[in-house]
Amino acid sequence: MIKHRKRVAIVAALVIATTGGAVAAYWTATGTGSGGASSLSAQAITVTATTGTADLYPGFTGGDLSFTAANPNPYPVTFTAYTAGTVTSSDAVNCPALNVTVASGTISLTVAAGASGVAATLPDVVTMIALAPDGCQNKSFTVDLTLTGSQSP
């Protein structure tokens, strides 16, 4: 049985070694990791909404989305895409969230290893509809984001 296991291990190593294609290590969001060439465990990266420069007004299509990021991992991480989700208004009564839309797209943001409080902005991704009511002045809108990234080389 032990010999059999050794053979399996050897064959597996050879297969991995001779594949020659992309070798990727996949970590889950919770940081549980496994991989052929590395055994690092991804730690949770945090991205938190922060108040940026207010720029929205009725009909404006170039609003910015601001956040801060923290990367506790011992390697830099580069985000390459984001998907906008639910928008929450700070005043849902006088300015419902439907007055604001957020486009999804690509980004290029690298957060250094061990960095915290890294301020970042997604420029020109927020639109306030032209019919936004008067109650939408001086309000904030929190946007759920799904970020896709990878360990930087």
């Binding site: 050794k6 190593a13 050879l14 991995i16 070694a17 001779t18 020659g20 294609g21 070798v23 990727a24 290590a25 996949y26 970590w27 889950t28 969001a29 990791g33 991989g35 060439a37 590395s38 991804a42 945090t46 991205v47 938190t48 909404a49 108040t51 940026g52 207010a54 720029d55 929205l56 007004y57 009725p58 404006f60 609003g63 910015d64 989305l65 601001s66 956040f67 985000f79 604001v100 997604l122 927020v126 032209a130 936004a132 008067d134 939408c136 002045q137 001086n138 309000k139 904030s140 809108f141 929190t142 946007v143 759920d144 984001l145 799904t146 970020l147 896709t148 990234g149 990878s150 360990q151």
Partner: protein
């Protein structure tokens, strides 16, 4: 002997892994649970320095009031609303609109002679309205020839 062979093969395998051209990367989707961003809206500022002067309208040859003000600092303002009352305490009603944030004067015509009118102006941008200016007053002339 088998252990030795195993070790050699493993070493070869590791060497091959290390020599890959493709960098070893970690790939995520939905990497950051609870990630959020924030956007914020502006406040539409009011015009300022409103001034009112009783005059005679050249167009309708009758009492009028010339109004001038300083433009709103909100560059996205689309125009202004002029509010008037015959009482300093109001109520004020919109008697005219001006299109364009750079247009900062207007003439209120069709007024009664020797009557004091009170004015306020506010900025507009879509459905947004700024606070109003301070109230200013002007009295129309008795006779316009």
């Amino acid at each position: 002997m088998r252990r030795h062979v195993t070790a050699v093969i493993a070493a070869v395998a590791l060497t091959a892994l290390i020599s890959f051209d493709t960098p070893v990367r970690a790939l995520w989707t939905q990497l950051v649970p609870g990630a959020t961003g924030e956007a914020a809206s502006l406040t539409l500022t009011a015009p300022s320095a409103l001034a009112a002067t009783g005059t005679c309208s050249i167009l309708v040859i009758g009492p009028a009031v010339d109004l001038e003000w300083t433009a709103s600092s909100s560059t996205f303002a689309s125009g202004y609303e002029i509010l008037r009352s015959t009482s300093a305490s109001g109520p004020f009603v919109v008697v005219g609109t001006v299109t364009g944030s750079s247009t900062v004067s207007a003439t209120d015509i069709g007024l009664l002679p020797l009557t004091t009118y009170h004015y306020r102006v506010r900025s507009r941008a879509g459905a947004w309205m700024s606070p109003v200016t301070s109230t200013v007053s002007a009295t129309t002339p008795l006779v316009c020839l």
